[in-house]
């Protein structure tokens, strides 16, 4: 699969349009998707996405995948100003949507937290980026498949925050990213918060654009301003407003609508 992806990526980039095949699921089901009597079953990953989340990213990816629109770059960062804005959720939902809607191969590089940190997810794979860069594991071993084999993930790996920082600043990290870009259509980097750790700037130097996740009613405009100014000249692909909710009753929404 790896070589096929690399060829497809090369072809996509050579064509210059940058658009992946739209609605690939409907035209050509992925080989690992189960079918029953000719009916195509959607990816189990997509089925697990909550409807609101899925709709938001269907729309986002769809808008980027029409003629005339600027396509998403191959390396996309997902970042926020501070912890707690839902960056990992957004990154993974984006990756799932890219996988399913565009029939693309996607790799999530989760460097938002080191596995050894107190806030690290206990369910994350043990082998990660740090192990690859240390020579303890190969990239293939660090890549972990999901229920849909078009979507894979590489975690930060063992170690503390300092280890992660040194990993992100190493040349080998760039080489790993280059290799991932050759193997996958999209590389989505789940980055740590920009204003809380210096690692985000090191990681995002190697992406072509980023989505900034802001929490509705929680993230101040000044934080967004500071974050974008720190990440300049990297282009911001847009602000993803997370956890949007309104308490305004429907009958009053016309009055108080922004």
């Amino acid at each position: 699969m790896t070589s096929a992806n690399a060829e497809r990526n090369a072809a996509r980039r050579r064509s210059g349009d940058g658009h992946a095949r739209p609605l690939a699921i409907a035209q050509e089901p992925a080989k690992n998707l189960p079918t029953a009597e000719g009916v195509i079953v959607p990816s189990p990953l997509l089925q697990q996405l909550p409807r609101g989340l899925a709709n938001a990213f269907h729309r986002l990816v769809g808008q980027r995948n029409v003629d005339g629109a600027t396509p998403l770059p191959g390396r996309v960062g997902v970042v926020s100003s501070l912890h707690g804005n839902g960056v990992s959720t957004v990154a993974r939902a984006l990756a799932i949507t890219l996988t399913c809607d565009l029939d693309s191969t996607v790799c999530i590089v989760d460097i938002s937290k080191p596995s050894g940190s107190p806030k690290g997810r206990s369910t994350e794979p043990a082998i990660g980026l740090a192990d690859v860069l240390a020579g303890d594991a190969s990239l293939a071993e660090a890549l972990h498949a999901s229920a849909d084999d078009r979507l894979q993930m590489i975690a930060a790996g063992a170690g503390d925050a300092d280890t992660l920082g040194s990993v992100l600043r190493s040349r080998q990290f760039v080489a790993v990213l280059d290799e991932l870009e050759r193997q996958f259509d999209y590389v989505v980097i789940d980055a740590p918060p920009v204003l809380q750790t210096p690692d985000a700037l090191a990681a995002l130097r190697h992406v072509e654009g980023y989505f900034l996740v802001a929490r509705h009613g929680k993230t101040p405009v000044d934080e967004v301003r500071t974050t974008t100014s720190q990440l300049e000249p990297l282009p911001c692909l847009g602000v993803i407003l997370n956890r949007y909710s309104t308490r305004i009753p429907k009958r009053f929404q016309r009055i108080f609508a922004p």
């Binding site: 369910t123 509705h216 009613g217 009055i255 609508a257």
Partner: protein
Amino acid sequence: MEVTSSEVVSNRLTSPGAGRRLRARIGEHLFSKWYLYLAVLLLCLGIGVYKATGVQKTYVSAGTINVASATFLSDLTNVNVPSFGYQTPAQKTANDINQRLGTDEFASKVAEAAGATGATATDPNVLAAIRRGVLVYTGGASIVRIAATTGNGELSQQLANAVISTYTDYVVDVETADSTAAAAFYQDRLKADQATLDDAKAAVNEFLESHPQPAIGARPDTEAIQLKSLTDATDKAQQAVDDDNDKIQQADLATAQSKADINQRLTVVDQPQAPIAPQPIRKDQAMTVVIFLAVGIIVALTFLLVVSLMDRTIRSSLDLSDLPGLSIAAVIPALQSNQTRVKLIGPTIAGELPKGQAS
């Protein structure tokens, strides 16, 4: 560059779409934290109800006095008539009473006239209560009404009477001050002149006893001259005493004329009566509640406006209008708690969607 809160608020009010943005924020805060604003409203309403239940029954007693600009007596005599300027006599008198009530001396006299004794008459709380309880207003060009309000009907009547009598006394004191002072002056002079007269008379008597009239013929010339000198001194002293008495009479007459003139100028048309029923308090109670309710609404709205103006969080694309090049790429609704517990199928990326929406 550091941006102050006032600059932020100013920018928010002047930037494009500021009205819509503020309106949206007001709506969000109003409906998301409605209980806070309701609490402020209820708190003020509760205070208003508490105050309304504390409104006491009051009794009002009012008297009316007529103020004339001149009297027939003042036309006949040369009694000084007060100048009212551009004001009507009633306005001048009402203002004068109100100004006098502002002084502790006058208020104390009113308290004494109303029945207060000793230290009570000068107690600041009593004086303040008198000032609060007395209302003086005009009822025309020459009518002045004096209304006293207390929690006791008789006290209200006494207070209204006290204000009228104290003011009348005050006017009499002021307008008879000159004649009274003149009378006192001549009283003092009279004592001295009377003593001189008595001495002169005693000297004449002593001389006559020591130098009796001769049985035959006239007094010798030296005695006659000496006696005439003593008699002249007596006459002169008598003249001074007579002058003093005359001046005193004139001063007393002026005082009496002034008093008579004042009594004619300031006549009590309606004596204050003891009220038989208290004033209705329902209107006052309702007014108190309404006022506190209005205050509560104003406070809550002000609080809401301030909170909305100080809210600097992102809520819509309008909030990014100050950041060129940025736009909302996607809006993810807040998920229900049962929706966020997603377990993705797969052996190795289990739990990659966290339990919440936070990373």
